[in-house]
């Protein structure tokens, strides 16, 4: 990793905690050359190509479909394991056993330890397994590939975007530092009250339990969140509130699996930023911002692949760091 990427790496960690993405202080000479050359391109011809992209480009949903399939299968495995008593994946998303191995959600484990003020051996084993798993798989991959609320929120988001298009609602942005705040508040509440307060309102836990053990009134809270997102603020819970996202985001810092941006192919059309749950990780695609010719996206990226699907030039691709060196 060169100095420019190193700076961006730390910058993106600060961005994950809620700082606004801003212009890089230094750009590598090669990338700078690209930026300069791009500025010299014939603007009309570029605009014509972009128009053509948008006119002829087919909507691709490869990664979205794969992701939805995985999300539904994982959640169904929980349900089926219980209903058919086949013991593949027992428990719920907060804690489970996969063919006997403990798997424990990192955020839930943290809440329990803070509330209980004691390290529980099983919890450490299960948390360790999950930590390794999500480091390998990309941290917030949990959000977009497993969390059942994410799927509902995506559907709610499409209603929201339709309403925005009809000019019936507008997206009300909220300060992203709120998520770091809520993480701290819930950690403090767990310590102070000796009760896992966050679990009472975690839509992930509520939905997971509802899918496995049957619906309950707690689903009303999930519904309230979805209504808020449809009519008021796009993807508000995942973007501005959910501490689970931040916990897994921190895990993602160390993950080799990520989306890589390459400057050379990019036309700076900005389609990726429009579909992204966390557009601040894609600030690098803005004209003149890429610090290098190839820039990995930051840890807050959920690796959902919507940008990969939507990019007409193939500038955004999944990569496993170091794998191309091995092969």
């Amino acid at each position: 990793m060169n100095q420019y990427l190193k700076n961006r790496f730390f910058d993106q960690i600060a961005v994950m905690f809620g700082r606004e993405a801003r212009k890089p202080a230094a750009i590598s000479p090669v990338a700078q050359m690209f930026h300069t050359m791009k500025r010299a391109t014939n603007k009309e011809r570029l605009a014509a190509t972009i128009r053509e992209h948008h006119a002829t480009g087919k909507k691709v949903h490869t990664w979205r479909n794969r992701r939805w399939a995985v999300l539904i299968i994982v959640n169904l495995m929980f349900t089926v394991s219980f209903w058919l008593d086949i013991q593949i994946l027992e428990g719920a998303l907060t804690a489970s056993r996969f063919i006997g191995f403990h798997l424990i959600d990192l955020n839930s484990a943290l809440q329990v330890m803070l509330a209980h003020k004691h390290i529980i051996v099983n919890l450490v084993i299960g948390t360790g397994t999950v930590l390794v798993l999500w480091i390998l798989l990309g941290g917030r991959t949990f959000c977009s590939w497993v969390c059942p609320y994410h799927l509902l929120a995506e559907w709610a988001e499409s209603i929201h975007l339709w309403l925005v298009k009809k000019k019936l609602v507008t997206d009300q942005a909220i300060d992203r530092r709120l998520r770091t705040g809520s993480w701290l508040v819930f950690a403090a509440l767990a310590v102070a009250t000796g009760y896992t307060v966050f679990e009472a309102i975690s839509p992930t836990g509520i939905l997971s339990r509802a899918l496995i053990y049957g619906p309950g009134l707690a689903l009303l809270w999930v519904l309230a969140l979805l209504v808020f997102e449809v009519f008021f603020s796009r993807r508000a819970w995942c973007r501005y509130a959910c501490p689970i996202g931040l916990t897994y985001g921190v895990v993602g810092i160390f993950s080799p699996l990520r989306v890589r941006y390459s400057l050379a192919e990019c036309f700076h059309e900005g389609d990726c930023r429009k579909v992204c749950l966390v557009p601040h990780v894609l600030d690098t695609v803005i004209k003149g911002r890429a610090v290098d010719v190839e820039v990995p996206l930051g840890p807050d990226c959920t690796r959902c692949g919507l940008c990969v699907d939507t990019c007409p030039t193939g500038s955004l691709k999944f990569e496993v760091k170091g794998l191309n060196k091995l092969m």
Binding site: R39, F82, I104, E199, A241
Partner: protein, 302 residues
């Protein structure tokens, strides 16, 4: 930053704005002062942020407050830590629910007021009859909220500890007849002796809880490993002793001859020290409402 990289190249929208509104020429680092509209937008964003913060924290606390005011103690699964520790350590995954052969364990909902997703037992509907022999729910618990033996740093309340490992009637002929349980989850108490059939000297004939009752129990005479519906196992007994007869723990309850206040002799179910508080007596009692109930979290006081 190189000379060629001008700041207004960065955001196309900023560039567009710059061409339409004349801005006083200044150094490349100086920003134009934020417009009134921008300031208002920022202010609104702050208000929304505060609104969402308040909403989320409020909702979370509303889920917590009922716990503070909870009056009725709930019967937790066997091996549960003391309520405070239990609530702190339960991760709400429901693995205890999944392993219970009679599905005695349920998860609390929003309005139950004792922690969304925490397990409890409604003994009247379905008691724990230890059909699993090994207290599977304890085995399943990933966080040690349900334990065979408490870690040293957690204290044991006076009277909560069982004097001896309870002997399971169903396992009496096995090499190891005891149940791996160190503390009781409650104590049964005859709350309505005046209605008790045994006290009245009456017998009982028919289905203990009626034909519609869904509760299940293991009957050793039927099948050790397959609990059946209580409704499928009718009784015909000259003097009611269902609570004693179906109690899974040896020596926990018996019918004794006691003296009434007026000096007359009569029979009555009497609970003894080995009672673990499983609630089978409460479930099986044919009188409506039950004459005998388990008092959750109660300890042995005598």
């Amino acid at each position: 930053m190189s000379e060629a990289h001008k700041p207004d190249e960065d955001r196309p929208e900023v560039q567009a704005q710059a061409t339409t509104t004349p801005v006083a020429p200044s150094g490349p680092a100086a920003k134009p002062p934020p417009s009134r509209e921008r300031l208002q937008q920022a202010r609104r964003k702050w208000l929304r942020t505060i609104l969402l913060t308040g909403g989320v924290t409020g909702a979370a606390l509303s889920g917590f407050l009922p716990l503070v005011y909870a009056r009725t103690k709930r019967l937790r699964p066997p091996g549960a830590l003391d309520e405070k520790d239990f609530l702190a350590s339960c991760i709400k995954c429901g693995q205890c629910v999944q392993v219970c052969p009679v599905q005695a364990i349920k998860l609390a909902d929003l309005i139950d007021g004792f922690g969304v997703g925490t397990p409890y037992i409604d003994a009247r509907e379905q008691a724990c009859d230890f059909s699993c022999d090994a207290v599977q729910c304890i085995l399943a618990c990933p966080t040690g909220s349900l334990v065979y033996k408490k870690p040293a740093f957690l204290g044991v309340r006076q009277g909560a500890k069982l004097a001896n490992a309870p002997i399971l009637k169903a396992k009496e002929k096995d090499a190891e007849p005891t149940l791996n349980l160190a503390e009781r989850i409650g104590v049964a108490r005859l709350t309505r002796p005046e209605a008790c059939l045994a006290v009245k000297g009456k017998g009982f004939k028919g289905q203990a809880r009626g034909a519609g009752f869904k509760g299940r129990m293991r009957y050793m005479a039927v099948d050790r490993w397959k609990p059946i519906k209580v409704a499928d196992h009718p009784y015909d007994i000259p003097e009611c002793d269902l609570c004693v007869r179906e109690c899974p723990v040896k020596g926990a309850i018996s019918i004794e001859t006691v003296f009434a206040p007026d000096g007359s002799k009569r029979k009555s179910p009497v609970v003894h020290e080995p009672c673990v508080g499983c609630g089978v007596c409460e479930m099986i009692c044919p009188v409506e409402p039950s004459c005998i109930v388990v008092e959750a979290r109660e300890v042995w006081n005598i």
